[in-house]
Every structure is written in structure tokens, then in C-alpha cells.
Symmetry: C2
Subunit: 432 residues, 2 copies
């Protein structure tokens, strides 16, 4: 059909109230919304920095996730069938066969020029224009964030974060002896800039750390205007931003959101990313574009692990070079968007009345807020006995908040067993 | 021939003064010794802790080593022809083909049980008896040492090290804000225990960090009695030891030296190792057996990089399981021992009179002490222009010592070009 026919059809559907248009995102089927639970309200963490102590709990959750029989709503791994494992594997096989010297070489910081070139080319899709020299390759985005924190903060310093925030980042801050200042956040738009501005005026903050594109766990997306405003705010206070963009390529709508760093003119943003959420978590290939902190990050990377593996980044670079990555992303995004909707509507059917669920516009995570005095840690323990995975809410706060919340991952294709697990989880959530 | 014939032959050669026996090491051809330069004297660093600031220099040396045309006496990479690259490559290819799920999996700390089992079995050859549960897998020994330091020391703390000490460790200490207390060391026996004991009585020391087996750069080997005494000393002071054993498998003599941890009964030793010096630096596979600090190290590893790559440790585990590793080590050791002797005797022929060179009983590194007021940094700059690699001495000290020293790596097979480079290096060293 022609473009004009499609546009006509959209207009008609919109007129009938069946689809809606979201700016910079695309057309969405509106009727599904009626099947979805209410969204969570903006969060209201306490406005004081706190030392972080989540690691014992993280350890427990990870021990549970190690069980290969568990229904993987707790794990952020992708379904292998959603990833071009065979193509990547062939690239690896070819590299080890044709370049035996890779086995003994140290790929010293900043890391493989081939992959850094490929990343520089991709940065255009992020609304950006980085050069290969702007990057330092890392062992996934986790190492990137760790290095970025080491570069800009010292033990005892305060780092402002979203609330709720990814427990991996909290654990990293705990290991580095940093305090967390949780900033109120909106489940659609992310961190609340007025609250952040007030905090910057009130507290000495060494850095701000955010996941602006499809945050973990809320799935929120900062609008472009907010990103630009954020950059201005940080520039005025001369405070660096660590921007974790691991989910940016997983937009459910038509457009890839911009990175905050693309608005930055002062080199204050340290942009972190990886291929773990889109392609190959097992390869541990990530990067940081550390702005004005480039030299320091490069040295810290050297001190921390000297080099990255030689073969795996090159295999990924080949996929990027040959265009296979974009094709893969299109299909992956379609699957994840569908899985997120499916799980959301299953929650509406099976969970207690009054349960609220996020509506992420990207990624594969759902944030679930149970009604009343629900206890997510107790639910976690019960679900574990029945081999159903989930991540309890208190992991996402340095203040022990979100006792009535949980995160569910939708990176796996739903089947009869996982559908049944969701129904059972709803029953367990209703128990007192 | 029979064992008794060989023993007879050895006895006869020893009687004629052609070979000598070194305890726990084997028989050595004695006549070569006459072709070798004098050995360096024990070192005498200043007895006060110092902040570390080597990283700018390390950066420069690494920039030089990136030149693919450089004669690689500066690099600690192995010659690819000395490593079973094809066998490892086939293992990698099989794994990515047969286990596609490895692509998307996180190999969470403590890391692959298969490799940890293989390491536990190998620990018998270290005079030890570790269980798979004693290990945490890391990105090479560098990450292991970084994690070990994070586990036992805080910024501002003092760590006692050999002098000279590996610049990678110094850089790691710099990044972590640690002070270095350099302990006098002997080029054959390593750290001087009486000096260490005096330092422990005088200074608050958070940890001791040593390479007891074939240290970098001296190549020294602590005798077993010294290892046992060291463990007693540290136990009395309740001070942990970070033991870097990356070179232990590269003994030139008959016996693999024991690890210090095998004497420890209090869990005070954090043993670090890797396959980077013996097999596959490009795979970044290492480990730490952190004794009583196991839980803390596991959490730190999680915070620092979440996981290790999935495929590469399994490929190495396969080589260990099928016995190919021991066969490879025997051949590698023979080559390295020969290369070290060759370079040593070339230095005797080409370098200024009075040059002293270490005589390592393992590994592939030579420590060269130039006579008079030689300036290794100047020599480094001159050699760099002529594309000859070396590491200048001041990198190995937090006190800027060893201005007249350099480290040469012998991991590459000597050929006409590298022989000529050594001769030229001798000329450059003689220039004032």
C-alpha cells in the first residue's frame, strides 16, 4: 500500500479512538490501554543523602536467579532466540581462525579502533556525532559506570540518582563508599528536574547518575526538552552527569531517543553503553565516552583490568559494519514491545485490584506497585520456593523504599508456563 | 635411556663442572653462566610510604608499545607461535556453535563452575588443595589484584610491595589512592623478610602485595622456607597478603614452586592468577582465591563488572580438562628459558661493561642495571625513535628509583632483527 493510504488509515483509526499518536514515538493501539493496569504515581524519596547497603539483598536475589529452572521474570537476560547467536558465533569462529595473534594480544585502553569507529558511526543514531577517539571500551556498561564513578567521585561523596534506581548501580556505589541522594522521579518522564535543581542548591553533589532513556526499573523516558534543560542545570553547577544509555536502542516507538550527551557542550557528561541488552550480554562489550574525563577514565580502565578481550568486540564490530545490527534491532524491539504489553495485561487480569504497572516506551522491564501493605520481600521468598523469578522493590533504593513494589523482566517469550507463573504470582501477591 | 643412565650422566657432568644442581629447581648448564653478566645487588628503597604517581609515564610507555613495528622487548605479550592458538580457537568455535545461549548469559560471580573445578584440580600442582568454591573468576590477574586491593585497603592506606614492583600494580594503587611502602628485595630471593618485619613494626600497613614466584621485573623466587616464615609474620600482625602468582607456571627448572597461600591457615592470603602469561592474554581469564575475604571480593566483582565473558573461560577449561595445557607449558617453559639465556648473553656481549642483569629461574623478564649515571628514560626515548621497545626502570617504583634500570621481555623468539636491536640498545646505553 502507499504511504498516503497508510496515513489515511491512521487518521481514520485515530478518529475512531482506536489508535493514538505519541509525539516522537509513533502510533499506538489505544484499546490495549483499557486492558492495562493504572500507572504508578511519581515517587517521593526522602531528600537526604544515604549510605548504600543493598549488596546482601542483591546477593540473595542473584542466588535465586542462578536456578536454571526458574521462570525468568527476575533476570534481565534476553531470550537467545531473539538474538542472532549463529551470526555472531560465525564471526567469532572466523576471527579466531584467521587472526591467531588475537589470542595473545592485549587490547589496551581505549580498546579496538575497529569497534570504536563503528560506535562513532552509530552515534549519529543517538542524535550525536562522536569520534572514535571519544570512546574507551569496557567490560559492559557496568564497568563503564564503575569507571565513570571512580573518575568523578571519591568515597564519602554524594551522587544524585533516580528513585527507584538500578540496584547494580547502587551496589557499585556501595562498593565505592558513595552516598546516594534519591531524586523524585516520574514513571513516564524520569527524574524531576525541579527536585534535582533544589537538591543541587541544597547539597554538595559530586555527580548525577541517570538512565534517561528507558530507565531501570521505571522504564521512563526523559523528553528532549528535559534533557536539554538538565544539561544547562548541570553546566551551571559544574556537576558531571553519568548517563547510562544501555536501553536507548530498545525504543518501542519509531524514533531512537537522543542521548543527553548530545546536548552537552562542556564535556560534563560521561556516556555509558553496551551491547548487553540488545545483543550479547555474555560478550561483556561496553563503552564509555567520558567527555572531559577521557584521560582519567582511560587510566582507571588500565588500572582496573588492563585490557578487554580481543575477539569479542571485533565480532560485534563486524555485525555493526555489515548492517545486521539494525535489522536485528527492528525485530528485537517488536518482540520486546509485544512481550511488555502481554505481561502488563496479564497483570491486569491476575494481580490484586489496585495494582499499578509502568508503561515503558522502550526496554523490557515492568515496575509493579502492589496495593496496600504488600511485602515484596515476602513475595520474593514465596515466589522463589515456586521457582518464579522477580526482583523485589527495596533493591532499587538506598532508603529501603518500595517495599510494595517489584520489577518483572519481559526479555523472554511468554509461554504457557510463564503465563501460569504470572497468574500464580498474582495469587501470591494477594496473600497476606 | 633409563632414569639411572640419566642420573649417572648428570653426576658425571656435575663432577666435570659443566652442570650444577639448584635445589627444587633442577640441573642447569653451568658453562653458560660465564657468558652472563653480573647479577644486580639487593635493592634499598627509602623506608617511608609514598603516594604513587606512575600513570603518566605508564601511558607514554604504552603508547610506544602500540606501534606494531616495534621490536617487542617492552611488551609482555607471548609470541603467538608459542601458544596453541588453533586448539583454543577450535574450542571457542565449538562452544559458540553448540551453546548459543552462552551469547546472552551473564556468567555471574563467582563465575563458571567448570573453570573453577579445573582450577581446583590444578591447585594441587601449586602445592595447594583449593576447592571450586574458593575461587572468583576475573578479567585477568589485573582485575583480581584490583579487587583484592579494594577488599583489604581504603584510600590513604599503605600497602607494602617489593622494590622494584610491577608498574601495573603501582598504577592500580595510584588509581585507588593507596600509598606504597617499598621493601628491599633481593634479585634471587625476593622481598627481604627482616626489612618487611621491621616495616610492620614501624608502620600501619593495610596489606602486603607480592609476586613471590618469578616477580615482575626482578624474576626473583621466594624459597619455601621464606614463604612459610612470611605467612607466620603476617599472621602475627593480622595483615593480609595479596599474592600475585601469574608467573608460577613458568618455572625454568623441574619443579613448579608452591604458592604462599598453601602455607596459610588463617585465610589471610588472597591468591591471584591468570592465563595471560601462559596461554591467552587476549581472553582476559583470571581468578582470585580470596581466603577469608571471599564474600567481599565476590560482591566487589559484581559491582565492578557484573560478569565475565561466558565463552572464553570455558574454552580454557576444555584445554585444562584434556591435558593439553601441561604439554603446552612444558614446551613454553623450554622456549622461555632459552630465550632468557640468549638475551642475557647478548647483553653481556653488547652492553657497556659493568651492566648487571637478573637471572630469573622462571618467567620471561630480565631486569637490567646499567652502570654509572645511566638515564633509562632517555634511553627509552632514544630507543623509541629507533622502534626498539623497553620499559624504563622508574616505572617500577613509587619513589622514582631505578633511573639506571630497564626491563626487557623475552616472550618473543629472537631473530636477526631483534638480535640487531639488542646490539643497538647496547650502543644507545653507552651514549652519554
Amino acid at each position: 500500500v502507499s504511504v498516503s493510504t497508510v496515513l489515511q488509515a491512521y487518521l481514520q483509526l485515530e478518529g475512531e479512538g482506536l489508535v493514538e499518536t505519541r509525539p516522537q514515538s509513533g502510533h499506538y493501539v489505544r484499546s490495549r490501554e483499557r486492558e492495562l493496569p493504572l500507572e504508578p504515581l511519581p515517587t517521593r524519596p526522602a531528600p537526604a543523602p544515604r549510605p548504600v547497603t543493598v549488596s546482601a539483598l542483591v546477593r540473595e536475589v542473584y542466588a535465586a536467579a542462578r536456578d536454571p529452572k526458574v521462570v525468568p521474570f527476575g533476570s534481565s537476560q534476553l531470550d537467545p532466540s531473539l538474538v542472532p547467536t549463529a551470526r555472531l558465533g560465525r564471526a567469532v569462529s572466523r576471527l579466531v581462525r584467521e587472526q591467531p595473534a588475537l589470542t595473545v594480544q592485549y587490547d589496551l585502553p581505549p580498546g579496538s579502533p575497529v569497534l570504536r569507529q563503528a560506535l562513532a558511526r552509530r552515534s549519529v543514531t543517538w542524535g550525536h556525532a562522536l569520534s572514535p577517539d571519544d570512546f574507551v571500551l569496557t567490560a559492559g556498561a557496568s564497568e563503564a559506570v564503575h569507571l565513570a564513578l571512580l573518575a568523578v567521585a571519591r568515597p564519602g561523596d554524594t551522587v544524585a540518582i533516580e528513585s527507584p534506581a538500578y540496584y547494580g548501580t547502587l551496589q557499585c556505589m556501595e562498593a565505592l563508599g558513595l552516598k546516594a541522594l534519591e531524586i523524585p522521579s516520574h514513571p513516564r518522564d524520569g527524574v524531576q528536574l525541579d527536585a534535582l535543581e533544589a537538591a543541587l542548591g541544597r547539597t554538595k553533589i559530586a555527580a548525577v547518575l541517570l538512565v534517561p532513556n528507558f530507565s531501570n526499573p521505571l522504564g521512563s523516558l526523559m523528553p528532549d526538552e528535559a534533557k536539554e534543560k538538565l544539561v544547562g542545570l548541570l553546566a551551571r553547577h559544574e556537576v558531571p552527569l553519568i548517563e547510562d544509555d544501555v536501553y536507548g536502542d530498545l525504543h518501542h516507538g519509531a524514533h531512537r531517543p537522543r542521548v543527553v550527551q548530545s546536548f552537552d557542550r562542556k564535556g560534563l557528561v560521561l556516556l555509558c553503553g553496551s551491547f548487553s541488552k540488545t545483543l550479547a550480554a555474555g560478550y561483556r562489550v561496553g563503552w564509555v565516552a567520558p567527555g572531559r574525563y577521557l584521560e582519567r577514565v582511560e587510566l582507571l580502565k588500565f588500572a582496573q583490568s588492563v585490557a578487554t578481550p580481543t575477539v569479542l568486540p571485533l565480532a560485534i564490530a563486524e555485525l555493526l559494519r555489515t548492517g545486521g545490527y539494525d535489522r536485528h534491532l527492528r525485530s528485537l524491539r517488536r518482540h520486546l514491545a509485544a512481550q511488555v504489553l502481554q505481561v502488563g495485561s496479564a497483570i491486569k487480569r491476575h494481580f490484586p485490584e489496585g495494582t499499578r504497572v509502568s508503561r515503558p516506551q522502550g526496554g523490557c522491564l515492568l515496575w509493579v506497585e502492589l496495593p496496600g501493605k504488600a511485602d515484596a520481600l515476602q513475595l520474593f521468598a514465596r515466589a522463589r520456593r515456586e521457582r518464579i523469578g522477580l526482583v523485589p522493590g527495596p533493591l532499587f533504593s538506598a532508603q529501603g523504599r518500595y517495599a510494595n513494589c517489584l520489577r518483572l523482566s519481559c526479555g523472554f517469550k511468554l509461554d504457557a508456563r510463564s503465563e501460569a507463573a504470572l497468574a500464580r504470582l498474582g495469587q501470591l501477591a494477594a496473600m497476606r
